[in-house]
């Protein structure tokens, strides 16, 4: 307990001068304040095989720290729910549940978005090297996979946002295809 308290004080001491310069620690603290919310999203997937990008859109909602729901409405209704380590996908009459604890690569992938949303720096740094640019009002966080198994799937993840809100996430896949997810928060009263 005492040790923890000292740890907190130590972190506080480090954080104080950092208010001047925006850094990963500051961003994570900001993000961690976000306890949840709803957003409209539009996702574009640029795939070399296709002549034009595949576009999907719908709503996302997030409840800190580990519940994320993504409801795609166009082109097909599909619900993806991430609750702790259980990922379930419902599409038409099919329902698929995956325990991510069984799938380290998928878990790393999911942690990129979940870690960013919850401001969990430790979870992000487990699998990615973090690079931050910009300022608190307009920042870009780049995640580079440190594990080869992950980089075989995704080369780079770029998250951008302002303050504690994430505006877009871009995944660059190993085969050169990429997808861009844009989010627009819905104000809830």
């Amino acid at each position: 307990m005492i040790k923890r308290l000292f740890g907190c004080l130590f972190l506080l001491a480090l954080a104080l001068p950092a208010t001047a310069a925006f850094d990963v620690g500051q961003l994570m603290t900001d993000l961690a304040k976000n306890k949840g919310g709803k957003a409209k999203f539009t996702e574009k997937k640029y795939i070399s095989l296709l002549d034009k990008p595949v576009v999907s859109s719908g709503e996302m909602s997030y409840t800190a720290p580990d519940r994320l729901e993504k409801r795609t409405l166009v082109p097909k209704v599909e619900t993806l729910l991430l609750d702790k380590d259980m990922l379930s996908i419902e599409r038409e009459k099919q329902k698929l549940s995956i325990n991510l604890a069984n799938q380290p690569e998928a878990l790393a992938f999911v942690d990129s978005i979940r870690g960013t949303l919850s401001g969990n720096r430790a979870a992000l740094e487990k699998n990615y090297a973090l690079h931050l640019s910009g300022n608190a009002d307009k920042w870009v966080l780049t995640l580079l996979p440190s594990d080869q198994k992950i980089s075989a799937l995704v080369l780079r993840i770029t998250v951008s946002g302002s303050k504690s809100l994430i505006r877009s996430i871009e995944y660059l896949q190993a085969d050169g295809d990429r997808s861009v997810l844009n989010m627009e928060p819905i104000e809830t009263k």
Binding site: L49, P75, I89, L96
Partner: protein, 777 residues
Amino acid sequence: MSAAARAFLIWLLASMAGAAVVWNSHFSADMSFFLPARPSAAQQVLVDQLKEGVVTRLLMVAIEGGDAAQRAAVSRQLDGRLEKLPEFVSVQNGQAGNLNADRDFLFRYRYLLSPAVKPERFTVDGLRESIANSVDLLASPAGMMIKPLLPRDPTGEMIELLSGLNAGAQPYVQEGVWASRDGQRAMLLIQSAALGSDTDAQEQAIATIRSEFAESAREAGISDARMVISGPGVFAVKSRETIKDEVSKLSAISTLAIIGVLLFVYRSARLLSLGLLPVVSGALAGIVAVSLVYGTVFGITVGFGAALIGEAVDYSIYYFVQSGRLGAAEWRTRFWPTIRLGVLTSVCGFTALLFSGFPGLAQLGLYSLSGVLTAALVTRFILPALAGNDHPVRDLSHLASPLNAGIRAMQSLRWPVILLTVAATTVLVIDRHELWHPNLSALSTVSAEDTATDMALRADIGAPDSRYMAVITAPDREAALQAAERAGRQLDALVAQGIIGGYDSPARFLPSQAMQAARRASLPAGDELAARLQLAQADSPLAANKLGAFLDEVARAKEQGSITRETLNGTSLSLAVDSLLMQRPDSWSVLLPLRPPAGDKNVEIRIEPVRAALAASDALLIDMKFEFDRLYNDYLDEATLLSLAGFAAIVALLAVTLRSARRLGAVLLPLLLAVILVIAGVHLGGEQLHLMHLIGMLLIVAVGSNYALFFDRAGKENRLDAPTLASMAVANLTTAIGFGTLALSSVPVLHAVGITVGPGAVLALLLAACFSGKDRA
């Protein structure tokens, strides 16, 4: 040749013939003891599943100790070692590599396997729609998985196939191999080549797994690794060990105790061996009769020998003790009729069991019947000749006075006994709904601990628990598969309505030749397909010119041969097909296991709509749990009927012989009271009654009547002399020892008979004394 020599020669020849039969007998300790002799169509499925169903060949293994990485290492080692051995047809531990062969097969034959392959799917509209679907799927989170396949499989047949497969709960994975839900064990699922009913082979397979495990653990360098194994094969092997162990243990206890009693009574090695002669003959005759009639002798039947010894020895005790003073001729006229009547009542009891459809019970009946009858006949016809007139038995008259005092004490207890019986009856009436164990597991030799282990492993590994099945019988393989496809269409509709969660079918991996031909015919020729694809994809983001691989794949599919059972070799799908499609001597049968709706664990399927839907096809719906319960209830109903019939036969026999309602009542009263007191005692002792307790009740009457009859005879002659009294006490003691030994057994069938008949026989004697006439000299 003297009479003695002649008698002995006959006995010797008969015994040698008997020994030869026993030598060639087949002994078994498997489930068939419990399986119906005359099964209904639904029960036949049950029997087949229990004898040769794939489920009976599954062995579940859990590895404990070390850390997760070490357990995974042992799991991989063990998997690698067992996979090479011919005793095992499949070893699964969740390693990804094991599934590659399956995936390759599915992808290669997807146009013959996919239920979506129909002529409409390859029209311009059909292509446009299915390819647009696949493109949409790219937008989904699952899109990353299908992207590499898209150019070769734009219509999404592989997705069609895989979506039908998801068999629900998958085991957890830790360090790349299956693990228990708490993460403390690595799990493997092994299928033996041998049938579950082949106990020898199962024992061998289990021993192999154990030794290979020890090697694997050593190689992985883990000192504290432990292995838990369960499955039907393990149960069969353990049950057999238990039964084998108990048969020798119980027989030894019973024999030694009885020899002790006889030595005390006879004080003569010669009389002892002569006295055991009818017993040995009876035990031998019992096995011979069972072996000749049924072909197979169950271990439990032999275990019943311990009780038979106790009863069969009675006759020689009566002979030696009673004829000592009177001589053989006098004994025959005075005592033999009473003994004969006792033998006949026992025979009535055992004969009733012969008519049981429960094979174990019928065998016990035949075994005891032939044993008792033989022992009595040997006593009557062989023993006097062998023993001659020279068999002075130690004078037992000093026992008479304490025994008489005992009888007088019992007689003074009439009212307390009646009150006790009323109390016992009240208890039984009040608790009548809790008396009986509700299902067949009551008779199972498998211990509660082993059952719990099995359930835990089963839950961790998600092993199939196929309670509901649709069953189809057809004259040949093709007809069977076609029928499975027809039933599948009905079941698909039920899946869509959410009535069932899903089902398995052999036709999923091995479609009928007719279905394969129809699917192949749905595929357009190369040029035609190219032209249609061009039209279909005109406005699509996925241009037709990027789908050259698709055209090649369809062309190849049109030319490649059909899938046969041999095509499946090397994949785990072959097992799935073999377990669901079986060749019978003159037909083929298909099983379609049904799964309850998703999310509902252990919830019952609503039977009625399923039955209605399947009525149109040739499939028969079976609920295994229901069939098991019904089987047990059938056995119980039948056993009730047989017990009543046996009891009625005994009453009729006594009525005809005694020709007096008063005497009949005097003989029956103590027996009925004994039954009530024993059953109440067993119930209050915390045991749930089952079928064998019921049989025990019948045997209390059949065996106990022997003692009541002596009191009846004494009443008629107006005296109960010292040797008769002593012989009754000794005979009762040996019977109580014989049956009482069975009460020590952990085999429920034997235990239940022992715990009822052992005390029941003693009570029958005591109560017969209690209600015997007071005016006796």
